[in-house]
Symmetry: C2
Subunit: 148 residues, 2 copies
């Protein structure tokens, strides 16, 4: 049988190393943090993106997402606008400079992912890993400790 503690350990430690290395490289090459890039990718991919959508996309709390938007907005990479049908919400959009930054940083991001995630595994093994992680994520989303 598989040692679940070992799997947990390898998962958490690899995620930490992966995040830190990509983040370091990204800041040196493009001046963006990985957290910012991640958020910009979500904003870019979500039509009429709300703060709540960012929170769910990043798997962080709404409060944390609101503060993250503050920082990205202060940096000039995104802006809040009025929501057309719900005045409790704002629409978060990338600014011109934000879009530029995203265009510049994305290739660096992809290079690092290839180096740390793609290169060490064969195509078939990587495909199995992708399937397992997608399954685990969906399963965890469906079975929260705090229901509702």
């Amino acid at each position: 049988v598989t040692d679940l503690r070992q799997v947990f350990d390898d998962l958490v430690r690899f995620e930490t190393m992966l995040w830190n290395e990509v983040d370091t490289r990204l800041q040196k090459a493009s001046g963006v943090t990985l957290a910012s890039l991640n958020m910009m990718l979500i904003i870019d991919a979500t039509p009429a993106c709300r703060v709540l959508d960012i929170a769910q996309g990043l798997a962080i709390t709404v409060g944390g997402a609101s503060q993250a938007v503050d920082r990205l907005e202060k940096a000039g990479s995104c802006a809040r606008g009025p929501h057309p049908t719900d005045r409790r919400s704002s629409i978060v959009e990338l600014t011109g400079p934000g879009r530029e930054l995203l265009t510049r940083a994305a290739p660096v991001f992809d290079e690092e992912l290839e180096r740390l995630l793609g290169a060490p595994l064969t195509g078939a093994t990587l495909g199995q890993l992708a399937d397992s992680l997608r399954m685990l994520r969906r399963s965890a989303s469906a079975t929260p400790a705090k229901p509702q």
Copy 2:
């Protein structure tokens, strides 16, 4: 070909959800944070454990590990003692209450791992996941962005 951004996303988000759910359950059931439990497991498993060993085991910086030991020591779960051959170092050991806490919290930890990691996957799939993560972790350790 596999979408590496999607793999990265699923990996990071699942890790976040897994960590937060296990942490919440652990605090309610045993009054320990997952960060503390993780550190106590390393201290328990490492003979003559130094702060540096904890940093490497958790994949965090030495500064962060030093502060983490401060907190665990303040909580009464571990203690620094003199290193027998190197006076720059300390030896970190679990106290009696720390060992008790570890004994009480470990089963809760294992239950949560089974629920969120073991149950959603078949035995064979889980075994492949374990192999891939071990490989990726070793690979990332061997190819740091900052050499040495």
